[in-house]
Amino acid sequence: MLSDDILFLPVTELSRRVRSRQISPVELAQSYLERSRTIGQRLNAYVTLTEELALQQARAAEKEIAAGKYRGPLHGIPYAAKDLLALKGYPTTWGARPYANQGFDYDATVIQKLNAAGAVLIGKAAMIELAGGMGYRFASASATGPAKNPWNTNCWTCGSSSGSGAIMAAGLAAFALGTETWGSIICPSGFSGVSGLRPTFGRVSRYGAMALAYSMDKIGPLCRTAEDCDLVLQTISGHDARDLGSLPDAAARYAGSARANGALRLGWMTNQWTKPSPDVEQAVSAARKVLEAEHSFTIKEIKLPEGPWEVAAGVVVSVEGASAFRSLIDSGRVLELNDPLGKIGGFMNQEISASDFLLAQRIRGILQKKMAELFAQVDVLVAASLPVTATTLDTNLDDALSFSDPIGGIGNFCGLPAISVPCGFGHQGTPVGLQFVGAPLGDAKIVQAARLFQSRTNWHTRRPKVT
C-alpha cells in the first residue's frame, strides 16, 4: 500500500508521477480503496465502493500509459462521485431510503467525461438525502448516517456533499465530485478543510444527475488545491444538449486559469456574515493580510446589495424541488426520509403559489443586474466560507446554522462561481474556509485568486490524523 504522503498529494503531482510511471494506477487505486473500506466506513463517507470497476479502469490506464497512450492529467487518477450521479451497474441512491435500490442503465455526462479522461472511479460518496431538497435539521439526514469530519469525528462535514468532504479530508481519493444548489460544495469544503469549486451555472452538464432545482443545480469538484479544481473543471465542463440548462459550448467550455495571471480587484464583503465566531474571525483576518500582501491584488471593502434575495432563492428552490420530487411527495413516501424536517418539507413546498414563484423569478432578474454592477467594480468577492467551524454530529442545525447567508443565496440564485479554500483552524481543531466568488464565467479568476492564496499559505497541505 502506498504511504499517506503519496495519497495526500494533489492531482497535479500524482499525475506527474503516474505519467512518468513512478506510481502505478493499480496500486494507487488499491491503496485508496483500502483506506475507503476501513477509514471511509468509520466516517460514513461512502454509499458504495465500486471496486471491480475501479480495478478494471486502473488496469486499463496502466496498460495505456505503459504503451505511451497518455490521455491527460486525470489518467489513472482515482476519484469518488456523489451518489446522485447515475452510474451503470451500481445503485444510485440519492442518499435516501426510498431510492435505496434505484439503478440507471447509463452514466451521467460527468462520469462519461471522466471515463474518457481515463480517471478511475472508486466509489459513490455519501450525501444528505435528496441533497437536502426537502430541508433537514440534523446531520443524520442521510441513509448512510452522518458523515464524520476527519479533523474531529464528533463533528460533521456539512452537507449536502457530506461524503465528498469526508473523502477528501481523510485522503480516501485524489478528488471527488459534489453538487451545489445552495451551499453543498462551499460548506463541506469549509468544514472539511479542502478546496471546493462551484462552477458557473450551466458550465457542467447535469445529465444523469438527480435534479433538485433545475435553475440552480451545479456539479463541481472537491480537491486538495485550487489548481486541482481547475484541472477537474477543465475535464467535466462543456455544452451538453441533454441538459436544457447547459450553456453554449463557447461559454461552457473551461480553458483553465493558467493564462489568468493579471491583476485582480478583490472586494472584501463587509455585510456577508453578521457575527462570525472569534476563531473564524481570527483566521480570516490573517488570511486578509496574506491577500493584502499579494502585489497582484488590490482590495477594497464592498457591500452586497440588500434585498429579499435569500427568501426569493428559497422560493425557487422549494418550488422546483416540489416539482422534481412530486411523485415522492404525492405518494407519501417522502415520509420514509430520515430527517423530521425532510419528511414534511415537501408538503409545505407544494403550497407555494405560482404568484410567489414568479415574483421570486422577477426579483432574480433585478438581482442579476445589481450583481453585474457590483462586478464592474471588482473581479472577485471574498469572505469567510462560513461564520462558524464544523458543528457537532447531534446539533440541531435549525439552531446552529440558521444565520443569514447573503452571498450563498445571491451566488446560487445568479449562477455565480465560487471556490472555498482552507485558511486556518478553529477552537475544536476543525478548519476555517475562505471563499472567493466571481462573476458569471469568472471561474478562472476565482481559481487564480485561490491559487495565489495557496501559494502563500500551507493550510491546504495540512492533514488530519485518521486511522
Partner: protein, 125 residues
Amino acid sequence: MAKVSVDRRRFTLGAAAAAATALINPVQALEQAQNAGSGQPSNSLEQKAQAAMAKLSPAAQAEVQSKADSILRKYGNKLSSEQKTDIRRALAETQDGLEKMRAFVLENGDQPATVLKIRADGGRK
C-alpha cells in the same frame, strides 16, 4: 442584514411559508390537548408554533392556516400530531420572509429571470 428564516437547509420552508400561517383553531387545540403520549407534539413544539403565529398579522395567520389546512386535507391521514404541529410552526416561522419578498417593489417591465443569461461580456457591464 436581517436574519431570515430561510437558509441552505430550510429554503424549503421559505417557499412553503410563502403561502400561509395558521391560527391555532379550537378544534386543533382540543385535539392537541387530548393528545398525550408518544407521537404527540411536545409542549415545547406547540408553544413554538403558537409563538410564531402570534407574531403574524391576522391576514398572515389566515394564510398560514389555509396552507396548513390544505396540507392536512391531502396528507393528514399520513401525518402524526407532532408533524402537523411542526408544519404549522414551520409555516408560521417563515411567513415573515415571504411577506418581505412580496413587499419588494417591482416595475411592470421587470421580467422574470428563469435561467442564467450569459452576455458576450461575461455578465459584466
